[in-house]
Amino acid sequence: MLSKSQAKTFFVGGTVVFSAAFLALTYDSMQQIPALTHDDKITPAVERGKMIWEDNNCMGCHTLFGEGAYYAPELTKVVERRGKPWLKLFLKDPQKMFPGERKMVQYGFNEAQIDDVIAFLEWCGNVDLQGFPAKPPLAGKVQNVVSSGGATGKPQPELFRTICVACHAVGGAGGTVGPPLDDVRNRKSRADMMAWIANPQSIKPGTPMPKIDMSEAQLNEIVDFLLSLSGSVPAAVAPAQPQPTFE
């Protein structure tokens, strides 16, 4: 059987060999990381964004690259997922977007800080993470029970797809903060809609719906879209979120 000094040799030898291997791989990784992470794209804005990220310990609620806390959404791909206009609106007043939901801290960032945070998150989103986060492999096998009752209208305008669906459902897909909009043309005229969307606060002070900056053309496009919706809310939509079933 092994003697104590042989056991000691095993310990010391193993430690030396594997530490050396680890240091060699570390050296090699440091050579490759700049290309994998687009180090050259780290602008001063990205650096400032990283500082804001650390100074506020955003990692204490969120994960980034899958690291951090499990209380709030993973943010690696958030710019791709939500789009910059939505993020700007959200970061200005995080609790307003989802009233009554799990709370984020109200940081009261100014425009410049918000731009920095978004620049940082955008840089993170472009790092080569070897496929993380993976595309949900079962997503295709899950279908919505609710039929796309309202999806018969025009294609969703960009602004609608990135901002409004966070709170409103159309065809059974979307948020639940505001009412589903499939049948909104039965309730509101074109003029009402224009006025409401342009400035909800002036019509109903204190409403959770924020004023969203948009051009005249964008406003018209959105209202055209809303008027084109078929006009009936899918029956199963009451709980508003699609219920998955399995094939």
């Binding site: 990381i33 780290i42 990220w53 650390e54 204490g60 690259f65 209380y71 799990r102």
Partner: protein, 454 residues
Amino acid sequence: MKYQSQKIAYWFFAAAMVLFSLQIVYGFIMGFARIGYDVLHDWIPFNTARAVHTNLLVVWLLCGFMGAAYYIIPEEVERDLEWPKLAWLQYFSLLIDGVIAVGCYHFNIWEGRKFLEIPRPLDYLVVVNVLMFIANIGVTMWKGKRSTTTSMVLFMGLLFAALLYLPGMVQVRNQTVDSFYRWWVVHLWVEGVWELIMGGMLCYLLIKLTGVDREVVEKWLYLIVGLTFLSGILGTGHHYYYIGTPRYWLIVGGVFSALEPLAFLGMAIYALAMAKRGERKHPNRIALTWSLGCAVMSFVGAGFLGMAHTLPQVNMYTHGTLVTAMHGHLAFWGAYAMIVLAMIAYALPLMTGRKLWDTPLASWAFWTSNIGMLGMTGALAVAGITQVNLERRMGLDFMLVQKEIQVHFIGMLLAAALFTVGIGMFIVMFFRHGLPNDEALGTDVAGDLVAVGK
């Protein structure tokens, strides 16, 4: 207890008990936030509670390790501590540092990196503090009458832990590089050098409690910590799968981290075998129960539950979900919290001269806390697996899934309440022992020699 200067250990242990209680309070704050009662949000938002929870954990464990070292080293090398006054200075500066850091978290002041939240200026204080500790222990060993493997392994663990803290302090502009070196602290601590500390403490306890020949115990200690480094160093790769590092880490990390459970399995088998083999029946049964419990639970929490998500194919979906939190709880509990509690259960009667080891309360504390912790782990496992399936595999929205799994946190809080009762009993036992005193000097007072039959 043989030496006057060993008494300082008591104060480290007492501080550990206080900080541990506070850690649990902040755990409950997060638990309640997760079931919708985020009532303290304006004063203690989740990220504050989390930083306090995990930092207090690390600090009380370090207090436990330091107390253990101040107790074990003089006894192993057969002389008093070199600078008892320095140990006191180190004690107070550590606590002050900790209190300032925790205070800062309540005012949004931190470094903002998971587990390394301590504001940077305080990092330097930590370094000075640890230097004082290492110097004191090191010189005591250097001047000691004998040198033992147990004390060497313990010392090396503490020294490497101090050195590895340094890479965690560098500030870089690239988030991937930032993460890369953060793991040198977090991973190489818990899956590397802390295992040396744990191994050294376990070895000491087994020698004292089972009476198995030191040569045999220490030979196994070398093999096990050898296995730890063999797998654990390159095993760091299991944190380098998906953070912007080269692809070969998927293979290196996958293979070597899959070997890591062997070290924990070895530790469990070795502890159980030694206990069976030992001819000595030390009257302090509860200390042996904690020691064996530690060996077994560390295998379950770190080895088995670590293995469950360490392969890259699995980790792709579990990375950064509650599955990680499940593993984190049982691993920290089994490996490090339990070894500190085992050490306390062993040393306290010897320092105070009160043999409270055979009371029902002592065994209730052990069983209640362990069953509670297993319940918490189970609840987190169900929540974590559900999250992985709904969010990561079916693609449902994060917040929607969080609502679905909220109910499991009620279960977790119930189990946590049970756990807290167990820890409460342990702490009551702790303070019932009274203070360390001179009557307890000389091992026979409290039974160590009686046990040997001398």
